[in-house]
Assembly symmetry: C2
Homo-oligomer: 134 residues x 2
């Protein structure tokens, strides 16, 4: 068994699962990543304009289902959840590629975040740049 503790939570105008865009680039709103103050040192170096990967815990997802109709479209047939981006999966970790708009203290404003208000945040990573810039 693996145990994780959220490092913070998403604050978003999205409050219901219904109507949440399926991916950030499909019209998701700006949101705040409210990181626990105890992790302030871990944010050192992050800057506005930077692209980051946010990992979230999709705590409302069904963890038992192994197959779904992608995007609810029954004409496409059932697919294994590992071949879809559905939140339904054994370990429902959300993956969000967003751009930092601003940072105030340990709160990060980002664009295009498709997660409902209150979603726990597990990790933040910089998006990878070209090999010679790492």
């Amino acid at each position: 068994m693996i145990e994780m503790t959220p490092i913070g939570r998403v604050e978003s105008p999205l409050t219901e699962l219904k109507g949440v865009p399926k991916q950030g680039d499909e019209g998701a709103p700006d949101a705040l990543l409210v990181i626990e103050p105890s992790y302030a040192d871990a944010l050192e170096g992050l800057l506005a304009g930077q692209e980051i990967i946010v990992l979230t815990w999709l705590d409302r997802a069904d963890r038992e289902v192994l197959q779904v109709y992608p995007r609810g479209d029954k004409s496409r047939g059932l697919q294994g959840v590992f071949n879809t981006r559905s939140p339904a999966r054994p370990n429902p970790i959300g993956l969000h590629r967003v751009t930092i708009q601003s940072i105030e203290g340990t709160t990060i404003k980002v664009n295009n975040m498709e997660a409902v208000d209150g979603t726990p945040i597990l990790d933040v990573k910089p998006a990878l740049t070209a090999i010679d810039e790492r």
Copy 2:
């Protein structure tokens, strides 16, 4: 507290942390994703040639450290772990973008996998395609 159960493990010729490439595109070897047979249905639709994102649990990582020298280079100054790809972080989830070479049963052969032998696997997702192909 969030609890996860691994869906499988990595089989890799990499057995020691020392010398593991820092990213998959920096010379990491082929590896096997040995998924538990009980998740066979969840793999339905995955095909050789497809690009996937593998999420792993970096179980040897230090979860207490909040700042590191990126890539061990002290000339660059200490950075917050959320601004690095270091395995050291509060929730050490590894993110690997790889291509499926072949699938046999519930074992997936992939290229460029920078994870040591035995690393637990948390999730597999398809890499996102262009919006109009989803």
